[in-house]
Protein backbone atom coordinates (compact mmCIF):
# COMPACT_ATOMS: atom_id res chain seq x y z
CA UNK A 1 0.00 0.00 0.00
CA UNK A 2 1.25 3.47 -0.86
CA UNK A 3 0.46 5.52 2.19
CA UNK A 4 0.56 9.18 1.25
CA UNK A 5 0.85 10.38 4.80
CA UNK A 6 3.88 8.28 5.61
CA UNK A 7 5.51 9.39 2.36
CA UNK A 8 4.83 13.03 3.14
CA UNK A 9 6.32 12.63 6.59
CA UNK A 10 9.37 10.94 5.13
CA UNK A 11 9.65 13.69 2.56
CA UNK A 12 9.39 16.45 5.11
CA UNK A 13 11.99 14.89 7.37
CA UNK A 14 14.52 14.14 4.64
CA UNK A 15 14.03 16.56 1.75
CA UNK A 16 16.21 19.29 3.21
CA UNK A 17 19.09 16.93 3.89
CA UNK A 18 18.65 15.44 0.46
CA UNK A 19 18.79 18.89 -1.10
CA UNK A 20 22.08 19.58 0.67
CA UNK A 21 23.42 16.28 -0.53
CA UNK A 22 22.18 16.89 -4.05
CA UNK A 23 23.82 20.30 -4.04
CA UNK A 24 27.10 18.87 -2.74
CA UNK A 25 27.29 16.19 -5.40
CA UNK A 26 25.90 18.17 -8.31
CA UNK A 27 27.20 21.64 -7.54
CA UNK A 28 24.18 23.42 -8.90
CA UNK A 29 20.94 24.65 -7.33
CA UNK A 30 18.72 23.78 -10.22
CA UNK A 31 20.40 20.47 -10.73
CA UNK A 32 19.97 19.66 -7.07
CA UNK A 33 16.27 20.51 -7.19
CA UNK A 34 15.76 18.33 -10.23
CA UNK A 35 17.76 15.46 -8.81
CA UNK A 36 16.01 15.49 -5.50
CA UNK A 37 12.56 15.81 -6.99
CA UNK A 38 13.27 12.98 -9.38
CA UNK A 39 14.56 10.79 -6.57
CA UNK A 40 11.48 11.44 -4.44
CA UNK A 41 9.22 10.84 -7.43
CA UNK A 42 10.83 7.45 -7.91
CA UNK A 43 10.45 6.80 -4.22
CA UNK A 44 6.74 7.55 -4.37
CA UNK A 45 6.29 5.29 -7.35
CA UNK A 46 7.37 2.35 -5.25
CA UNK A 47 6.53 3.65 -1.84
CA UNK A 48 4.55 0.54 -0.99
CA UNK A 49 7.77 -1.46 -0.86
CA UNK A 50 10.23 1.31 -0.08
CA UNK A 51 8.36 2.35 3.07
CA UNK A 52 9.32 -1.04 4.48
CA UNK A 53 12.93 -0.69 3.41
CA UNK A 54 15.31 -0.68 6.39
CA UNK A 55 17.05 2.46 5.14
CA UNK A 56 14.89 4.41 2.72
CA UNK A 57 16.99 7.54 3.06
CA UNK A 58 20.10 5.62 2.02
CA UNK A 59 18.15 4.32 -0.96
CA UNK A 60 17.25 7.89 -1.80
CA UNK A 61 20.87 9.06 -1.58
CA UNK A 62 21.86 6.26 -3.90
CA UNK A 63 19.33 7.40 -6.46
CA UNK A 64 20.49 11.01 -6.15
CA UNK A 65 24.10 9.91 -6.58
CA UNK A 66 23.37 7.90 -9.68
CA UNK A 67 21.26 10.61 -11.21
CA UNK A 68 23.97 13.15 -10.42
CA UNK A 69 26.61 11.01 -12.01
CA UNK A 70 24.57 10.67 -15.16
CA UNK A 71 23.98 14.37 -15.36
CA UNK A 72 27.56 15.09 -14.45
CA UNK A 73 28.77 13.17 -17.46
CA UNK A 74 26.44 15.11 -19.72
CA UNK A 75 27.46 18.39 -18.15
CA UNK A 76 31.11 17.55 -18.38
CA UNK A 77 30.83 17.03 -22.12
CA UNK A 78 28.98 20.31 -22.41
CA UNK A 79 31.62 22.16 -20.39
CA UNK A 80 34.40 20.77 -22.53
CA UNK A 81 32.62 22.08 -25.59
CA UNK A 82 31.93 25.44 -23.96
CA UNK A 83 35.55 25.81 -22.89
CA UNK A 84 36.61 25.64 -26.51
CA UNK A 85 34.46 28.43 -27.75
CA UNK A 86 32.58 30.11 -24.94
CA UNK A 87 33.48 32.65 -22.30
CA UNK A 88 35.37 31.61 -19.18
CA UNK A 89 33.26 30.58 -16.21
CA UNK A 90 32.22 33.33 -13.87
CA UNK A 91 34.32 33.50 -10.73
CA UNK A 92 32.30 32.90 -7.58
CA UNK A 93 32.08 35.56 -4.90
CA UNK A 94 35.09 34.95 -2.69
CA UNK A 95 33.15 35.50 0.48
CA UNK A 96 30.73 32.69 -0.10
CA UNK A 97 32.57 29.69 1.13
CA UNK A 98 29.81 27.35 0.18
CA UNK A 99 29.91 28.52 -3.40
CA UNK A 100 33.70 28.26 -3.40
CA UNK A 101 33.51 24.73 -2.21
CA UNK A 102 30.90 23.81 -4.80
CA UNK A 103 33.06 25.18 -7.58
CA UNK A 104 36.00 23.19 -6.31
CA UNK A 105 33.92 20.06 -5.94
CA UNK A 106 33.02 20.30 -9.59
CA UNK A 107 36.62 19.44 -10.36
CA UNK A 108 36.44 16.20 -8.42
CA UNK A 109 35.29 12.80 -9.64
CA UNK A 110 31.77 11.86 -8.64
CA UNK A 111 32.87 9.14 -6.27
CA UNK A 112 35.03 11.57 -4.31
CA UNK A 113 32.26 14.14 -4.12
CA UNK A 114 29.88 11.49 -2.90
CA UNK A 115 32.25 10.21 -0.23
CA UNK A 116 33.11 13.70 1.00
CA UNK A 117 29.45 14.67 1.17
CA UNK A 118 28.51 11.61 3.15
CA UNK A 119 31.42 12.18 5.48
CA UNK A 120 31.02 15.89 6.08
CA UNK A 121 27.30 16.38 5.67
CA UNK A 122 26.08 13.21 7.34
CA UNK A 123 29.00 12.54 9.71
CA UNK A 124 29.15 9.04 8.36
CA UNK A 125 32.04 6.81 9.43
CA UNK A 126 34.06 5.10 6.74
CA UNK A 127 32.40 1.76 7.33
CA UNK A 128 28.95 3.18 6.71
CA UNK A 129 30.02 4.99 3.55
CA UNK A 130 31.55 1.79 2.28
CA UNK A 131 28.35 -0.08 2.97
CA UNK A 132 26.22 2.53 1.26
CA UNK A 133 28.49 2.78 -1.77
CA UNK A 134 28.99 -0.96 -1.90
CA UNK A 135 32.78 -0.74 -2.00
CA UNK A 136 35.65 -1.87 0.29
CA UNK A 137 36.84 0.30 3.16
CA UNK A 138 40.11 0.99 1.43
CA UNK A 139 38.32 2.40 -1.57
CA UNK A 140 36.44 4.89 0.55
CA UNK A 141 39.63 5.91 2.31
CA UNK A 142 41.23 6.47 -1.04
CA UNK A 143 38.30 8.58 -2.27
CA UNK A 144 38.39 10.76 0.82
CA UNK A 145 42.15 11.14 0.78
CA UNK A 146 42.35 12.02 -2.87
CA UNK A 147 39.34 14.26 -2.65
CA UNK A 148 40.79 16.30 0.14
CA UNK A 149 44.18 16.48 -1.50
CA UNK A 150 42.56 17.77 -4.64
CA UNK A 151 40.51 20.31 -2.69
CA UNK A 152 43.67 21.53 -0.99
CA UNK A 153 45.04 22.37 -4.41
CA UNK A 154 41.82 23.93 -5.67
CA UNK A 155 41.27 25.98 -2.52
CA UNK A 156 44.72 27.34 -1.74
CA UNK A 157 43.37 29.97 0.64
CA UNK A 158 41.63 27.40 2.75
CA UNK A 159 43.59 25.34 5.15
CA UNK A 160 42.90 21.68 4.65
CA UNK A 161 44.67 19.22 6.87
CA UNK A 162 46.51 16.34 5.42
CA UNK A 163 44.61 13.13 5.62
CA UNK A 164 45.47 11.24 8.73
CA UNK A 165 44.97 7.60 9.33
CA UNK A 166 42.67 8.11 12.27
CA UNK A 167 40.64 10.65 10.36
CA UNK A 168 38.89 8.17 8.21
CA UNK A 169 39.19 4.92 10.01
Amino acid sequence: MRHAQSFDEFYRSTARRMMRYGYAVSGDHTEAQDLVQEAFARAWRQWGRLSEHPAPEAWLRLVVSRLANDRWRHLHRWRVMASRSGPPPTAPPPSENGVLLVHALRQLPATQRQALALHYLFDMPIEEIAREAGVPLGTVKSWLSRGRSRLAVLLPDVHIDELEANDVS
Binding site: M1, R2, H3, A4, Q5, F7, D8, E9, Y11, R12, S13, T14, A15, R16, R17, M19, R20, G22, Y23, A24, H29, A32, Q33, Q37, F40, A41, R42, W44, R45, G48, E96, N97, G98, V99, L100, L101, V102, L116, A117, Y120, L121, F122, D123, R148, L151, L155, V158, H159, I160, D161, D167
Partner: protein, 313 residues
Protein backbone atom coordinates in the same frame (compact mmCIF):
# COMPACT_ATOMS: atom_id res chain seq x y z
CA UNK B 1 39.52 16.04 10.40
CA UNK B 2 39.95 19.37 8.77
CA UNK B 3 37.84 21.92 10.61
CA UNK B 4 38.18 24.32 7.74
CA UNK B 5 36.71 21.90 5.29
CA UNK B 6 33.90 21.19 7.70
CA UNK B 7 33.23 24.91 7.82
CA UNK B 8 33.00 25.00 4.06
CA UNK B 9 30.48 22.20 4.08
CA UNK B 10 28.46 24.05 6.68
CA UNK B 11 28.46 27.04 4.40
CA UNK B 12 27.32 24.81 1.60
CA UNK B 13 24.31 23.69 3.61
CA UNK B 14 23.38 27.32 4.15
CA UNK B 15 23.39 27.86 0.41
CA UNK B 16 21.44 24.67 -0.20
CA UNK B 17 18.89 25.60 2.43
CA UNK B 18 18.04 28.65 0.37
CA UNK B 19 16.56 26.38 -2.27
CA UNK B 20 12.83 25.97 -2.01
CA UNK B 21 11.46 22.53 -1.39
CA UNK B 22 8.28 21.55 -3.16
CA UNK B 23 5.25 20.41 -1.22
CA UNK B 24 5.25 16.60 -0.92
CA UNK B 25 1.76 16.31 -2.38
CA UNK B 26 3.00 18.16 -5.43
CA UNK B 27 5.84 15.67 -5.78
CA UNK B 28 3.42 12.76 -5.55
CA UNK B 29 1.03 14.24 -8.07
CA UNK B 30 3.83 15.07 -10.42
CA UNK B 31 5.22 11.55 -10.19
CA UNK B 32 1.85 9.91 -10.81
CA UNK B 33 0.97 12.20 -13.66
CA UNK B 34 4.32 11.79 -15.36
CA UNK B 35 4.06 8.03 -15.09
CA UNK B 36 0.70 8.15 -16.82
CA UNK B 37 2.04 10.32 -19.59
CA UNK B 38 4.98 8.00 -20.13
CA UNK B 39 2.73 5.03 -20.41
CA UNK B 40 0.30 6.85 -22.66
CA UNK B 41 3.14 7.56 -25.01
CA UNK B 42 3.73 3.88 -25.57
CA UNK B 43 0.10 2.79 -25.67
CA UNK B 44 -1.83 2.64 -22.49
CA UNK B 45 -4.75 0.37 -21.82
CA UNK B 46 -7.48 -0.16 -19.35
CA UNK B 47 -8.13 -3.16 -17.30
CA UNK B 48 -9.56 -5.98 -19.24
CA UNK B 49 -11.14 -8.92 -17.62
CA UNK B 50 -12.02 -11.99 -19.56
CA UNK B 51 -14.35 -14.41 -17.95
CA UNK B 52 -15.67 -17.75 -18.93
CA UNK B 53 -19.27 -16.75 -18.95
CA UNK B 54 -21.13 -15.97 -22.11
CA UNK B 55 -22.79 -12.65 -21.59
CA UNK B 56 -25.44 -12.37 -24.22
CA UNK B 57 -28.36 -12.70 -21.87
CA UNK B 58 -27.30 -9.80 -19.74
CA UNK B 59 -27.31 -7.22 -22.47
CA UNK B 60 -30.11 -5.44 -24.14
CA UNK B 61 -30.29 -3.49 -27.35
CA UNK B 62 -30.42 0.24 -27.07
CA UNK B 63 -33.29 2.13 -28.56
CA UNK B 64 -31.83 2.64 -32.00
CA UNK B 65 -29.52 -0.31 -31.97
CA UNK B 66 -26.51 1.62 -33.20
CA UNK B 67 -26.06 4.76 -31.18
CA UNK B 68 -22.98 5.21 -29.03
CA UNK B 69 -23.29 3.35 -25.80
CA UNK B 70 -24.90 5.33 -23.05
CA UNK B 71 -23.02 5.97 -19.87
CA UNK B 72 -23.39 3.38 -17.19
CA UNK B 73 -25.55 3.86 -14.21
CA UNK B 74 -24.40 3.37 -10.69
CA UNK B 75 -23.36 0.10 -9.19
CA UNK B 76 -25.67 -2.74 -10.09
CA UNK B 77 -27.56 -4.58 -7.41
CA UNK B 78 -28.75 -7.90 -8.77
CA UNK B 79 -27.21 -11.29 -7.92
CA UNK B 80 -23.86 -12.01 -9.56
CA UNK B 81 -23.70 -14.48 -12.41
CA UNK B 82 -22.16 -17.89 -12.17
CA UNK B 83 -18.42 -18.00 -11.91
CA UNK B 84 -17.95 -14.44 -10.87
CA UNK B 85 -16.77 -12.71 -7.78
CA UNK B 86 -16.62 -9.35 -6.12
CA UNK B 87 -20.14 -8.26 -5.43
CA UNK B 88 -21.21 -4.95 -6.79
CA UNK B 89 -19.53 -2.18 -4.94
CA UNK B 90 -21.53 0.18 -2.84
CA UNK B 91 -22.65 3.50 -4.10
CA UNK B 92 -20.55 6.40 -3.04
CA UNK B 93 -19.48 5.30 0.36
CA UNK B 94 -16.94 6.41 2.87
CA UNK B 95 -15.10 9.56 1.86
CA UNK B 96 -11.36 9.53 1.51
CA UNK B 97 -9.56 9.18 4.75
CA UNK B 98 -8.86 12.53 6.30
CA UNK B 99 -5.56 11.19 7.53
CA UNK B 100 -4.12 11.36 4.05
CA UNK B 101 -4.95 14.95 3.37
CA UNK B 102 -2.28 17.54 4.00
CA UNK B 103 -0.76 16.14 7.16
CA UNK B 104 0.83 18.49 9.56
CA UNK B 105 4.49 18.85 8.74
CA UNK B 106 6.69 16.86 11.03
CA UNK B 107 9.47 18.85 12.59
CA UNK B 108 11.30 15.93 14.11
CA UNK B 109 14.36 15.27 12.06
CA UNK B 110 17.52 13.47 13.03
CA UNK B 111 21.00 14.93 13.13
CA UNK B 112 19.70 18.28 14.21
CA UNK B 113 18.61 19.24 10.74
CA UNK B 114 15.41 21.12 10.29
CA UNK B 115 12.47 20.14 8.24
CA UNK B 116 12.01 21.72 4.87
CA UNK B 117 9.60 24.56 4.58
CA UNK B 118 7.04 23.41 2.08
CA UNK B 119 6.14 25.95 -0.47
CA UNK B 120 2.60 26.42 -1.60
CA UNK B 121 1.21 23.88 -4.04
CA UNK B 122 -2.14 23.81 -5.74
CA UNK B 123 -3.24 20.28 -6.50
CA UNK B 124 -6.51 18.75 -7.53
CA UNK B 125 -8.29 16.87 -4.76
CA UNK B 126 -8.66 13.13 -5.22
CA UNK B 127 -11.82 12.13 -7.11
CA UNK B 128 -14.83 11.05 -5.10
CA UNK B 129 -17.28 10.29 -7.88
CA UNK B 130 -17.10 8.76 -11.33
CA UNK B 131 -18.55 10.82 -14.16
CA UNK B 132 -20.00 9.32 -17.33
CA UNK B 133 -17.08 10.61 -19.35
CA UNK B 134 -14.75 8.31 -17.43
CA UNK B 135 -16.15 5.40 -19.47
CA UNK B 136 -14.66 4.83 -22.88
CA UNK B 137 -16.63 4.66 -26.09
CA UNK B 138 -15.99 1.82 -28.51
CA UNK B 139 -14.57 2.61 -31.92
CA UNK B 140 -17.36 3.19 -34.42
CA UNK B 141 -16.56 -0.05 -36.26
CA UNK B 142 -16.93 -2.03 -33.01
CA UNK B 143 -20.22 -0.61 -31.78
CA UNK B 144 -23.24 -2.83 -31.46
CA UNK B 145 -25.50 -0.58 -29.44
CA UNK B 146 -25.69 -3.23 -26.76
CA UNK B 147 -25.04 -2.02 -23.28
CA UNK B 148 -26.40 -2.82 -19.89
CA UNK B 149 -25.98 -1.43 -16.44
CA UNK B 150 -27.48 -4.49 -14.85
CA UNK B 151 -25.97 -5.71 -11.65
CA UNK B 152 -23.09 -8.10 -11.70
CA UNK B 153 -19.62 -8.80 -10.40
CA UNK B 154 -16.63 -7.00 -11.78
CA UNK B 155 -14.16 -9.88 -11.48
CA UNK B 156 -14.42 -13.60 -12.10
CA UNK B 157 -14.45 -15.91 -9.12
CA UNK B 158 -11.00 -17.05 -7.96
CA UNK B 159 -11.48 -19.88 -5.50
CA UNK B 160 -13.64 -17.71 -3.37
CA UNK B 161 -10.95 -15.06 -2.88
CA UNK B 162 -11.95 -12.03 -0.89
CA UNK B 163 -10.40 -8.60 -1.25
CA UNK B 164 -9.81 -6.55 1.90
CA UNK B 165 -9.28 -3.48 -0.27
CA UNK B 166 -13.02 -3.49 -0.90
CA UNK B 167 -13.31 -1.68 2.41
CA UNK B 168 -11.43 1.22 0.82
CA UNK B 169 -13.78 1.65 -2.12
CA UNK B 170 -15.01 5.20 -2.45
CA UNK B 171 -17.19 4.55 -5.48
CA UNK B 172 -17.57 1.95 -8.20
CA UNK B 173 -19.55 2.01 -11.41
CA UNK B 174 -19.81 -0.82 -13.88
CA UNK B 175 -21.46 -1.76 -17.13
CA UNK B 176 -21.59 -4.60 -19.64
CA UNK B 177 -21.21 -3.87 -23.31
CA UNK B 178 -21.02 -5.94 -26.45
CA UNK B 179 -18.73 -5.30 -29.38
CA UNK B 180 -18.37 -6.59 -32.89
CA UNK B 181 -15.47 -6.96 -35.24
CA UNK B 182 -15.26 -4.33 -37.96
CA UNK B 183 -16.16 -6.87 -40.63
CA UNK B 184 -19.30 -7.97 -38.80
CA UNK B 185 -22.43 -6.30 -40.12
CA UNK B 186 -24.40 -4.05 -37.85
CA UNK B 187 -27.29 -5.99 -36.35
CA UNK B 188 -25.46 -9.32 -36.48
CA UNK B 189 -24.64 -11.33 -33.41
CA UNK B 190 -21.88 -9.61 -31.45
CA UNK B 191 -18.38 -11.05 -31.40
CA UNK B 192 -17.75 -10.50 -27.73
CA UNK B 193 -18.64 -8.53 -24.64
CA UNK B 194 -16.97 -6.76 -21.79
CA UNK B 195 -17.69 -6.28 -18.16
CA UNK B 196 -16.16 -2.89 -17.56
CA UNK B 197 -15.80 -1.28 -14.16
CA UNK B 198 -14.18 1.79 -12.67
CA UNK B 199 -13.44 1.99 -8.97
CA UNK B 200 -12.12 4.86 -6.89
CA UNK B 201 -10.19 3.83 -3.80
CA UNK B 202 -9.16 5.90 -0.84
CA UNK B 203 -5.82 7.60 -1.42
CA UNK B 204 -2.99 5.11 -1.49
CA UNK B 205 -5.20 2.00 -1.38
CA UNK B 206 -5.66 1.24 -5.07
CA UNK B 207 -2.40 -0.65 -5.31
CA UNK B 208 -3.69 -2.93 -2.55
CA UNK B 209 -6.49 -3.96 -4.88
CA UNK B 210 -4.05 -5.00 -7.59
CA UNK B 211 -1.75 -6.75 -5.15
CA UNK B 212 -4.66 -8.70 -3.73
CA UNK B 213 -5.80 -9.62 -7.22
CA UNK B 214 -2.35 -10.96 -8.09
CA UNK B 215 -2.31 -12.98 -4.90
CA UNK B 216 -5.77 -14.33 -5.62
CA UNK B 217 -4.71 -15.54 -9.06
CA UNK B 218 -1.54 -17.14 -7.72
CA UNK B 219 -3.48 -18.85 -4.96
CA UNK B 220 -6.00 -20.26 -7.39
CA UNK B 221 -4.27 -22.23 -10.15
CA UNK B 222 -7.35 -24.41 -10.65
CA UNK B 223 -10.99 -24.22 -9.76
CA UNK B 224 -14.43 -25.51 -10.58
CA UNK B 225 -17.22 -23.09 -11.34
CA UNK B 226 -20.79 -23.62 -10.27
CA UNK B 227 -22.93 -25.09 -13.05
CA UNK B 228 -19.79 -26.01 -14.99
CA UNK B 229 -18.21 -29.46 -15.04
CA UNK B 230 -14.95 -28.21 -16.44
CA UNK B 231 -11.81 -27.40 -14.48
CA UNK B 232 -10.63 -23.85 -15.04
CA UNK B 233 -6.96 -22.99 -14.80
CA UNK B 234 -5.75 -19.50 -13.95
CA UNK B 235 -2.37 -17.87 -14.37
CA UNK B 236 -0.83 -14.43 -14.42
CA UNK B 237 0.47 -13.08 -17.71
CA UNK B 238 2.92 -10.33 -18.56
CA UNK B 239 0.75 -7.31 -17.78
CA UNK B 240 2.34 -4.94 -20.28
CA UNK B 241 2.63 -1.22 -19.74
CA UNK B 242 -0.75 0.06 -18.70
CA UNK B 243 -1.40 2.93 -16.33
CA UNK B 244 0.68 3.15 -13.18
CA UNK B 245 0.58 -0.62 -12.83
CA UNK B 246 -1.56 -3.43 -14.10
CA UNK B 247 -2.46 -7.07 -13.67
CA UNK B 248 -3.27 -9.44 -16.50
CA UNK B 249 -4.36 -13.02 -16.09
CA UNK B 250 -6.14 -15.68 -18.03
CA UNK B 251 -8.76 -18.28 -17.22
CA UNK B 252 -8.56 -21.36 -19.38
CA UNK B 253 -10.75 -24.46 -19.74
CA UNK B 254 -11.51 -26.95 -22.52
CA UNK B 255 -14.46 -25.94 -24.64
CA UNK B 256 -17.65 -27.78 -23.72
CA UNK B 257 -18.67 -30.64 -25.97
CA UNK B 258 -19.73 -29.29 -29.33
CA UNK B 259 -18.33 -25.82 -28.72
CA UNK B 260 -15.23 -24.29 -30.21
CA UNK B 261 -12.57 -26.07 -32.21
CA UNK B 262 -11.85 -29.66 -31.20
CA UNK B 263 -9.10 -29.74 -28.60
CA UNK B 264 -9.14 -26.00 -28.19
CA UNK B 265 -9.43 -24.18 -24.89
CA UNK B 266 -11.81 -21.45 -24.02
CA UNK B 267 -9.59 -18.63 -22.81
CA UNK B 268 -10.66 -15.53 -20.98
CA UNK B 269 -8.39 -12.63 -20.15
CA UNK B 270 -8.66 -10.20 -17.30
CA UNK B 271 -6.66 -7.01 -17.02
CA UNK B 272 -6.91 -4.52 -14.17
CA UNK B 273 -5.09 -1.20 -14.41
CA UNK B 274 -4.40 1.34 -11.72
CA UNK B 275 -4.26 5.03 -12.56
CA UNK B 276 -3.57 6.97 -9.37
CA UNK B 277 -6.25 5.90 -6.92
CA UNK B 278 -8.53 4.55 -9.62
CA UNK B 279 -8.66 0.98 -10.86
CA UNK B 280 -10.42 0.13 -14.07
CA UNK B 281 -11.11 -3.41 -15.13
CA UNK B 282 -12.03 -4.72 -18.53
CA UNK B 283 -13.25 -8.30 -18.42
CA UNK B 284 -13.73 -9.80 -21.84
CA UNK B 285 -16.54 -12.30 -21.44
CA UNK B 286 -17.06 -13.40 -25.02
CA UNK B 287 -20.42 -13.97 -26.62
CA UNK B 288 -21.78 -17.47 -26.72
CA UNK B 289 -18.32 -19.02 -26.44
CA UNK B 290 -16.59 -16.77 -28.93
CA UNK B 291 -12.86 -16.52 -28.47
CA UNK B 292 -11.40 -13.29 -27.21
CA UNK B 293 -8.98 -11.49 -29.48
CA UNK B 294 -6.08 -9.94 -27.70
CA UNK B 295 -5.70 -7.15 -30.25
CA UNK B 296 -9.31 -6.11 -29.75
CA UNK B 297 -8.95 -6.22 -26.01
CA UNK B 298 -5.75 -4.21 -26.11
CA UNK B 299 -7.28 -1.59 -28.35
CA UNK B 300 -10.29 -1.18 -26.11
CA UNK B 301 -8.04 -1.19 -23.09
CA UNK B 302 -6.17 1.77 -24.51
CA UNK B 303 -9.44 3.56 -25.02
CA UNK B 304 -10.51 2.84 -21.48
CA UNK B 305 -7.24 4.07 -19.97
CA UNK B 306 -7.28 7.16 -22.14
CA UNK B 307 -10.77 7.99 -20.88
CA UNK B 308 -9.64 7.58 -17.27
CA UNK B 309 -6.60 9.76 -17.81
CA UNK B 310 -8.60 12.43 -19.53
CA UNK B 311 -11.06 12.41 -16.66
CA UNK B 312 -8.33 12.62 -14.01
CA UNK B 313 -6.48 15.28 -15.96
Amino acid sequence: MSAELSDLYRSLTVVADGVEIAHPELVRRHADRRARVQVAGSAVAVAVLLGGVAAGGRLAFSADGSAPLPPPAGTPASPPPTGSALPPSPSPSAPPSASTASPTPSRATPSGTRSPEPTGAVTAPPPTSIPDRAFFVLAAANRTGLESTAAGPVLPALCGARYPSESAVVQRRARSLAYKRPETRVGSVPDGSYRHSITIYRPGRADDALRELRQAVRACPEQRMPDDTRTWRQRLLDPGAYGDESVLFELRAPYPQGMGDPGADEVRLVRAVRVDDVVTVLWEQGWEYTAAERAQVDADSRRAVAAIEKWLG
